[in-house]
Symmetry: C2
Subunit: 77 residues, 2 copies
Amino acid sequence: MLKNDNILLSFGETIHKYRGIAGLSQESLAEKAGLDRTYISSVERGQRNVSLLNICKLANALQLPPSELLVNVGRSA
Amino acid sequence: MLKNDNILLSFGETIHKYRGIAGLSQESLAEKAGLDRTYISSVERGQRNVSLLNICKLANALQLPPSELLVNVGRSA
DNA sequence: TTGTGACTGTTAGTCCGTC
DNA sequence: TGACGGACTAACAGTCACA
């Protein structure tokens, strides 16, 4: 589905944006979040359907409330 | 991890709350979201680590922005 | 109307690399 | 520093019968 891709892409862009603001590399974000370097890469490219727990891990690593990572995500699915 | 359970539980409570406000049964919410009734049940009980796409499906069915479903979710993971 | 355990196919997520 | 691929294991999606 196209809409699904938009959701994942939008989420990936949000991660990319906040990671830039935090001045972190994909690798250091991965380390902070307890995730894999290649996983962060694929999330930012909208290739992964991230789970709630990992959304929270990422929010935590970026020092943001989890809901902040979804504000730019559309309602459609 | 205990914190993880708290996140899932908190998310489940949020779904339960908004479903009540919308006056929907688990079954009718399931139908609106294109998901299974028993899946909704397990989500509300915090037994499922829901994915981003399904969070959006639920938000859509409840006519809420996806971020609204995460406002009560803690930052920890 | 909802809770629950169990099940299978698919994908999340890791680890090894290369470019 | 990040994109991208292959191979692998753990976990989720989705569904069922039964309570």
